[in-house]
Amino acid sequence: MTAPARLVSLLETLGLTPVVPLVRLCLGEDPREQLALLVNLVGLPVLGGTLFLLFWAAVAGGVKTSIGSVPGPAQVWRQAVGLFREHQAEREHEREFYARQTLIRARYEKAFPGRAWPAHKYSGAPTYVDQIETSLETVFAGFVLASLIAVPVGVFCGLSKGFYNAVNPFVQIFRPVSPLAWLPIVMILVSALYGSASSGLPKAFVSSAITVALCSLWPTLINTAIGVGSIDHDHLNVARVLRLPLGVRLRKIVLPSALPYIFTGLRLSLGVGWMVLIAAEMLAQNPGLGKFVWDMFQNGSSDTLALIMVAVFTIGIIGFALDRMMLVLQRLVSYDRAAVR
C-alpha cells in the first residue's frame, strides 16, 4: 500500500471518515468528487447542528418555569465556561494550599526536629472536571467487572448448549431490569459485605460500579455466546483433527473467531453502562456527573437548567467518544480488518 492509501485507511479505521475527503483533496484526487463528499460528510452535519441551535435559541426564551425561563444555547455555553473557570480556580487554590503547606512543613521540622509532620490533604469540593473523572472511573470499573464476568460466561454458553439452557432464563429475566431497581439491593449488600472500613474505595463508588456492571454485562454475554456458538464448523473440525487441547482451542480458534462479536457486545455494554451510570450516581451519591445533575436539581437556582444542560451535553459527548473508542478497538481486533492495522 502507498503512504497516502495507508493514511486514508488509518483515518477510516479511526472513524475519522469526514477528514478523508479533505486528505484526498490535498493529495490532488478528483476535486469535484471529493468536494461533494466533503459537503455530505461535513457540510450537512454542520448545517443540521446550526439549524438545531437556532431553533433552540428561538424557542427557549418563551418557556417559563418556576426557576426562570428555559436557557438558550448562549446561556448554556456561558455556564460551561463558568464551570471550567471554577475548576481552574479550584486547582489554583489547591496549588497554593500545598505550596503553603511545604513552607509550614519546613518551619515545623525546624522547630520540632524528629517529630513527623502531620500532612494535610486538600479538601476542596470536587469540580466539574473532577466529577467527570469520577464518572469515567466508575463506568470503567463497572465495565471491566461486567466484562470479566460476561466474556467467560458467554464463552461457556457458546460452547455448551446445556450451559446456555441453564443460564438463559436468568439472562432473560435480569436483562430488562432497571438500574434503579438494582441499586438499593446493591447498596445494602455493599454496606453489609464491603465493610465500614474507610480504607479503599468509597461505598458509593463501589455500589455505582456494581450497578453499572449488573446492567451492562448482558449485551457482552449474549454477543459472546452468539459469536462462540456460530464458529465455522470446519474450524472446529480442524481443532478436532489436530486434537487441540481446550486452552489452545480457545486461544487459537474460539476467541479469534468470536472476537468481532465480543467487541460488538462490549461496545453495546459500555454504552448501556454509561447510560445507567448517571442514574446510579444520582441515587448512590457517587460524586460524578449523576450527583452533579441531582445536586443542581436540588439547588433550584436560576442557573439550574443551564447547568444540567451542560451536563447533558457532556454526557452525550463522552458517550459518543466512548462508543468511537470501542469502534476503533473493534476494527483493530477483527481479523477481517487485520490488514488495516
Binding site: R243, P245, P256
Partner: protein, 275 residues
C-alpha cells in the same frame, strides 16, 4: 497388508420416518502407499464416507480400522484436507501450518518444528507467501496451504475431500499436477474423493465409483495401470484411459438411472464385468 480397512460400514442420518440411510454396507481395503480415488455424483455420500474415515462422524454399523486399530475419533494420523480449505483466517499461512505442527509434535525442539514447516511450505511452493493471510491468497494457493498443513502432520494416510472442487478448470489442472508430484515425492497413502472421473484417472492407482445415495454403495474397483508420470494432454488420446473413463462414467450413469427407477433397495447390475 491393508493400512485402512472398512468392513460393513453403514451410516444414516435423522430419526424415525425421516431416517435416511446414506451409506450401506461399505467394504473397502487400502494398501500402504496406494493412491485410491472414490468417484461419485454430488450428494452421493462421498463426504460422509471421508468424515467416517477421518473420525469426525461415527458409523452406525461396521468397523473402520487404521493399522488394525479401530478408529474412534479424529486424529492427526489421518491428514484431512477439507473441501473448503478450512484455514483459520486470522492466522498467516505459516501460523496455520505451525498450529498443526506444534500440536502434533509438541516434544520436538523449536528448530526442528520450524524446519518441518519450512520444508512443507517449499513443497507446495508457498515459501514467499508464508506471512500472508489466507484471504490474500487465491483459492488454489489456499488449497495448497491446506495440503501442506495436512502433510506436515506426517499422517499415516492423507484424505482429500474434493480438494479441487471449488477451483476453476485451469487452476484445477495445475493443482492436479502438483498433487501427483507431491505424491511421487512423499509416497503417502492417499484417499481422494472427487466428482471428476478424469481427475481420478489422472491421479489414482485404483478408482472406485460410488453409486448415488441414499444407500450409496461402492461399485467395482477399477485398477488404473497407466504409466506415471501421467501427462494430461497425452492421456486424452490414450485408448486405455478412454476405455476406463467410459467404463466408470457408464457405471455411474447406469447406477444413477437405476436409482431413479428403483423404489426399494435393488441390487445394481454389474455392468463393468462385461467390459
Amino acid at each position: 497388508m491393508a493400512i485402512l480397512e472398512l468392513s460393513g460400514v453403514s451410516k444414516s442420518f435423522g430419526r424415525g420416518e425421516r431416517r435416511t440411510c446414506v451409506l450401506r454396507e461399505i467394504d473397502l481395503a487400502i494398501a500402504e502407499g496406494e493412491f485410491l480415488a472414490i468417484v461419485g455424483f454430488s450428494g452421493s455420500g462421498k463426504t460422509t464416507l471421508i468424515n467416517l474415515i477421518a473420525g469426525l462422524a461415527r458409523p452406525d454399523g461396521g468397523s473402520i480400522r487404521l493399522d488394525g486399530r479401530e478408529v474412534d475419533g479424529p486424529g492427526p494420523d489421518r491428514g484431512l484436507v477439507f473441501q473448503n480449505y478450512s484455514l483459520l483466517p486470522w492466522l498467516t499461512v505459516e501460523e496455520n501450518i505451525a498450529l498443526a505442527v506444534d500440536n502434533v509434535f509438541p516434544g520436538w525442539p523449536r528448530e526442528r518444528r520450524r524446519e518441518l514447516i519450512g520444508r512443507h511450505l517449499d513443497l507446495v511452493h508457498l515459501g514467499p507467501a508464508r506471512h500472508k493471510l489466507p484471504r490474500q491468497l487465491s483459492g488454489g494457493m489456499r488449497q495448497r496451504v491446506a495440503v501442506a498443513r495436512a502433510l506436515a502432520m506426517n499422517p499415516r494416510i492423507l484424505l482429500l475431500d474434493e480438494p479441487l472442487g471449488a477451483l476453476d478448470a485451469l487452476t484445477r489442472g495445475a493443482l492436479q499436477d502438483e498433487i501427483e508430484r507431491i505424491w511421487e515425492a512423499e509416497r503417502k497413502t492417499v484417499v481422494l474423493i472427487t466428482n471428476d472421473v478424469d481427475e481420478a484417472l489422472l491421479l489414482a492407482d485404483r478408482v472406485i465409483p460410488l453409486s448415488p445415495g441414499p444407500e450409496a454403495r461402492l461399485g467395482p474397483p477399477v485398477p488404473v495401470a497407466l504409466p506415471r508420470p501421467r501427462d494430461r494432454r497425452e492421456l486424452n488420446h490414450d485408448p486405455e484411459f478412454k476405455r476406463l473413463r467410459a467404463a466408470i462414467t457408464g457405471w455411474l450413469l447406469d447406477a444413477g438411472a437405476v436409482r431413479k427407477v428403483a423404489v426399494g433397495p435393488r441390487p445394481l447390475p454389474r455392468l463393468l464385468t462385461a467390459a
